[in-house]
Symmetry: C2
Subunit: 148 residues, 2 copies
């Protein structure tokens, strides 16, 4: 018997002053929409290394994890199949942001402006949770009770 | 092309006074060793629901997630295949602990005694991280630099 499981992905939040680094998606799903840098975790690779690899591929930046913001696994978060993501808060340790092969372009968005924008997947929820994390800490998951 | 990914699992830390609830494993790997309650995440199921389901199956307890302690994905953590786990800190909301079908027996271990004990998988590291979390918070992953 073959069990089926969600497919693990990773994402990273990189903040510089009031700005968050996003990538414009080159491909469907959510083509041309903004998402956090991230992607699938390969077998044999830790999630933290997957996060660093994806950040490098998509933004040309060397990043390091600082904390885990949360783990999001709502089956509807990706129209292709059931995925789950571990979201890291990271820091840029080297490089200048530049769109890589996997990203159409990169864009710095102001954290104050997220309510007026659309994002791929559940990244709107993740950015809201990050704002909350900045003031009160904590960790987050898809069905966590939120008071707003 | 078929990509291969780590298989997601969940675990939960349940503390009552100074004691942590562990289950004695009925099956290999790590047969007869102590592990945190947990198991594989099914497709279509959130990780938090997987955690609640596994806690119920293994300990007969209804639990709720409080925080995420970390996400551990060292490819060597499970001898069967590459797994990753999201570890929740939970609270017991209903029931009395009783070994379920999937667990040989349950055991409360003192958090002060973990250094003298052996645990399945990387649960020794996870329990150490939990002790740290109790005093200083934070989140954890397999290759995080630890100062001890």
């Amino acid at each position: 018997m073959k069990y089926r499981n969600p497919t693990p992905t990773v994402d990273v939040i990189l903040q510089c002053n009031s700005k968050i680094l996003m990538v414009k998606r080159k491909r469907d799903p959510f083509k041309d929409q903004l998402s956090l840098p991230g992607g699938f975790v390969n077998e044999g690779e830790t999630i933290e290394n997957a996060m660093k690899r994806e950040a490098m591929e998509e933004t040309s930046l060397e990043v390091e994890p600082i904390e885990i913001l949360g783990a999001y696994s709502d089956p509807r978060r990706d129209p292709r199949k059931h995925t789950m993501t571990v979201v890291f808060v990271g820091i840029i340790v080297h490089g200048s942001p530049m769109a890589g092969d996997d990203a159409g372009s990169i864009e710095w968005i102001d954290l104050a402006d997220i309510e007026s924008k659309q994002f791929a997947f559940d990244h709107h929820m993740i950015l809201r949770d990050y704002k909350k994390w900045k003031t009160s800490g904590g960790t987050f998951w898809s069905t966590k009770r939120r008071n707003d």
